[in-house]
């Protein structure tokens, strides 16, 4: 009995060394920004001489983070899905396993793949209490942004972007590829000002179902992301 447990301990020790030798864990952080400064929920941002906006709610899924080095697979995020919630700073960071510290590009999706979408109700960050599963139809919202602006002639000047849809012809998951130089850990900037530069919220301010507008808005999203060295 004693011999056996010694063997097991030895084996576990060896195994952990092997794993350690092959892979290292790293973190990847998303930094929510507005015009390159940290985003503050509820803060009034001027967007012109007379107009301003505030962002009250921001949540989005990032999935399948994958690292490449010279075109070859170099690692991935530990969790397949990651939900970034502007209200929870812990959610800005996720852990990844890298073969070694070297990588020169990173790819990920904004939103969830159709296989995950089709599976419906799931747990963890996909739990419906995350407020990212539609209630009146099936499917997850990939990117949810809400706030107010003097530009919106809606009730209480609200804008509401619930961007989702995974079935043809309204697919809204978007892929992002960022290049990265150096070997330090990665910080990814997500600048919301880019969103409002690209989308005229006096015209398009309420998108809450899979449709043409949702696809149009989703195509803007990759432009929000940029990589910085830490």
């Amino acid at each position: 009995m004693r011999v056996k447990s010694t063997y097991i301990c030895l084996f576990l020790l060896l195994f952990s060394f092997l794993v350690k030798a092959q892979k290292s864990t790293d973190t990847i952080s998303f930094q929510l920004l507005f015009n390159k400064a940290p985003l503050a929920l509820g803060k009034q941002y001027s967007i012109s001489d007379k107009d301003s906006l505030t962002i009250d709610f921001l949540k989005f899924y990032i999935s399948d983070i994958t690292f490449y080095n010279k075109g070859k697979y170099a690692g991935k995020s530990i969790e397949k899905y990651h939900l970034i919630d502007a209200q929870i700073s812990n959610s800005y960071t996720t852990h990844c396993t890298l073969k070694n510290k070297e990588f020169d590009s990173i790819t990920f999706s904004i939103g969830l793949d159709s296989k995950t979408q089709e599976k419906g109700i799931q747990g963890g960050v996909l739990d419906p209490t995350s407020q990212m599963y539609w209630t009146w139809q099936n499917g997850f919202i990939n990117f949810k942004l809400e706030g107010k602006s003097s530009l919106c002639s809606t009730r209480k000047n609200r804008f509401q972007f619930h961007i989702g849809g995974f079935q043809k012809p309204y697919q809204t998951r978007q892929e992002v590829t960022l290049s990265h130089s150096g070997s330090s850990s990665l910080m990814i900037g997500v600048d919301l000002a880019t969103f409002f530069n690209a989308i005229d919220i006096s015209q398009t301010n309420t998108v809450s179902s899979p449709n043409k507008n949702a696809v149009m808005v989703s195509k803007v999203l990759p432009r929000l992301f940029s990589s910085h060295e830490n």
Binding site: G120, I121, G123, P128, T135, W136, N138
Partner: protein
Amino acid sequence: MKIKTILVGLGILCTAVYCGVKKNVLQTPEYFPVPHYNFNNNPTSEAKIKLGNNLFYDPLLSANNTISCASCHSPYASFAHTDHDLSHGIYDSIGTRNAPPLFNLAWQDRFMWDGAIDNLDAQALAPISHATEMGSSINEVVAKLKAHPKYPGLFKGIYKDTLITGERVLKVLAQFQLSLLSSDSKYDRVQKGTASFTTKEISGYNIFTSNCASCHAEPLFSTFRFANNGLEVDPILNDIGRQKITLNSRDSLHFKIPSLRNLKYTFPYMHDGRFNTLREVLKHYTQKIKNSPTLSPELKNGISLTKNQQTDLIAFLATLNDRDFIISQKHQINKSFFTNTEGN
């Protein structure tokens, strides 16, 4: 060697238990097709069904604790809402569609009259959140369940911890709904060889197969696809049906084809509950089909049936009423759960 044998044995045992559990609840007749529902994502158990039953009958699911699922889906109406053309929700709100009956749901791939939801687990989110149904949210429901004197223990009995999540609540609710199996009508007994049709019923069956079966296919009595059955559009509701979901004009006025089982209990009929009797329904199909670009091709020329043929058809449809399903105790409210709630 020994460990290997034990592991293999354990594997076989687990598989056997797992399959046993899977078959246990849905004891479906062999003439039923393979269910659509993916049980691997939500294996069935009696404990889940019992807990799902409690949730189904619990008004805690609504914002002001007045409306339960059973408010609009009564067991005595085959889980539809007798006498209510449109659904009747929180604060006396009236919805825009008729509450459909609930049975044989494992064979259906889309829910709601417009098929907005393709996943039974997710379906309950709609009534829980809708302002004119339960006016709550899954977050609110989870919070109330966590604070409840009984529910945490019941969840622990199933999931081995007291954690109550949105996923668990919805999957447990789905379990109860999956257990609503209607397969004991006279029609079913004829299929099983323990009863036989009368001459009138046989005549009705023949009329059914040549006029109705392309949409209301046996043995579930629906293809569960979507079709425009030629109803005049209600000018107040102005409901375009499935087009609202697909945004495709070809789906204009398409609604989910309902099963013809249990019609005795599920009146009024149609997506807006406009007809109170089967005679009115047949009058529609034989005389009042409204032509439009999306009308079901089978109905282009209406259905031609004499009064006697209609009587025979109705006699056949009556063989699809499943009284045992309606009175089955296991589908009813568990009164002791609600009367003995401490702290209320």
